[in-house]
Amino acid sequence: MEFSTILGAWVAAGLTLFIFSFLYKDNPFFKAAEHLYIGAGLAWHIQLIIYKIIKVKVWEPMKVAWASGNWFTIWMIIIPTILGLSLITQFIPRISWLSRYGFTFMMGYSAGLALPAGLATDFTNQILGTIEPFANIVNLTPGQLINALILLIGSISVLFYFFFSIEHKGAVKKISNFGIYFLMIYFGASFGNTVMARFSLLYGRFDLLVRYSNAQYFYATNWIIVGLVIYFLLEKFVLNKVIAKNS
């Protein structure tokens, strides 16, 4: 196995265990891993912008367009680039007003694109989906009918819960209270799925830790766990006593 792969395994296992060590107590290894994560994350995003956006979308097309003297393409690159760069002027108060041009373009473009399509997908289509089964009520099986009724009652009662233009009392209060049960079922299902998702992620990390505990990775996980245990024992029985004595 290549040296870089083994080194990668040691770094991955080490950083994972350093982060997990916080579950026992705060310690310098956790802090180091935390700071490294922030630094590495920032560096990753900077290189991403330079090599995957500026180089690919601005620098290289500009070189080609300049060499062929294609002024239309040159302007098609320059204008969006200037609009994009104008966003950075926010950090310079004196000329921060320039950023409005970039934001205006972004907002207009995004709203124009997202509003009509989003309205159709999330609004009209969903209303249609709730009513549609009743147009075909004769052909529904009892199960499908119950499902359609639950959906209809659930949608209406939850909408009532979020309708604040009239006071919630009498029949309105009863319907909106009924909507709470539907919301609670939704939150319960979401929470159950969240627990499952977190366990899946934990499984993913543990699976890697077990893989890196093999001989081919020179028992990376095992050695790092031993190191951490020694540190915590030393801290408990030696370091704390020394600190207490000196103070």
């Binding site: 979308k57 997908t121 249609l128 799925n193 499952m196 499984y203 993913g204």
Partner: protein
């Protein structure tokens, strides 16, 4: 008795972490093989849709996830890719998340060879694209206007499988595996707008939120979390990381259920006494 129960409720939570660690570690080290009998309707629908596609059809597999959600989503995309290759479908792999590069490489290093598939003839990989909306809308008229080259800077049009592809009209289905809200964009800008069948693979957390799209058939199928991956692996008879993870998930869930029941009983006893 009351004192002991009170002490139990105030137990150092690190003991619970330790128990949870063992509940996940033990099945990894020594798999128990707890079978998962049920198949969710969303997973079954996805499988059926791909199964019914004629040989040679082209599908888009958008792998929009990075290592942070890979344990749940990587087995899903692997299962979809295996199924597509089994069915002799052509696959365009793409991503809108820069962090997925290594994960895509891992798949194309291992999976195509198992089915004797060739790059350019049976599958291509498109480069990372930063602007989702621009790419999704542009691809409706001409894919090559936004993706002129593949991930290795080779001219995309020149690949054998791309010769008959121009826009969404030539795409039989889109499967977006994602830990972000990108699936919404695929539904809005591709599924609903251009009538391309869209299916999804999402994390368990976001699975519930896609119920309305499934009900309205705006989504033709949905794979949710590691459980969904395990179910899909079972359908294609290719056990992978999803299946092996189910053991650990089952034990961990059992432990949490036990904790909840136990602490409620203790609370009830304390209240009654």
């Amino acid at each position: 008795m009351k004192e002991t129960l009170n002490k139990l409720l105030k137990i150092d939570r690190r003991w619970l972490f330790l128990l949870l660690t063992f509940s996940i570690l033990i099945p990894i080290i020594k798999p128990i093989g707890i079978s998962s009998k049920s198949i969710s309707s969303g997973v079954q629908d996805t499988y059926n849709f791909i199964e019914k596609l004629p040989e040679g059809s082209t599908i888009i597999l958008s792998m929009d996830y990075d290592p942070s959600t890979a344990p749940e989503l990587h087995p899903q995309s692997a299962a979809i890719l295996k199924h597509a290759f089994k069915k002799n479908l052509k696959v365009i792999i793409m991503t809108f998340l820069a962090g997925s590069g290594g994960l895509i490489d891992e798949h194309i290093r291992n999976i195509p060879q198992q089915y004797g598939k060739e790059y350019g003839k049976d599958y291509v990989v498109l480069p990372y694209m930063p602007n989702v909306l621009a790419a999704l809308t542009q691809m409706s008229s001409d894919i090559y206007a936004i993706y002129d080259k593949d991930k290795d800077d080779k001219i995309l049009k020149n690949f054998e499988m791309m010769k008959k592809i121009k826009n969404y009209k030539d795409i039989s289905a889109v499967i977006d595996i994602t830990g972000t809200a990108l699936l919404d964009s695929w539904i809005v800008f591709v599924g609903d707008k251009y009538g391309v069948p869209v299916m999804g693979g999402v994390t368990a957390i976001s699975q519930v939120g896609y119920g309305p799209y499934l009900q309205k058939k705006q989504l033709k199928g949905l794979i949710g979390g590691m459980k969904g991956a395990a179910e899909y692996e079972r359908l294609i008879s290719e056990p992978g990381k999803g299946t092996s993870g189910i053991d650990a998930l089952n034990i961990a869930h059992l432990l949490v259920i036990l904790f909840i029941i136990f602490s409620n009983i203790v609370l009830l006893i304390l209240k009654l006494s």
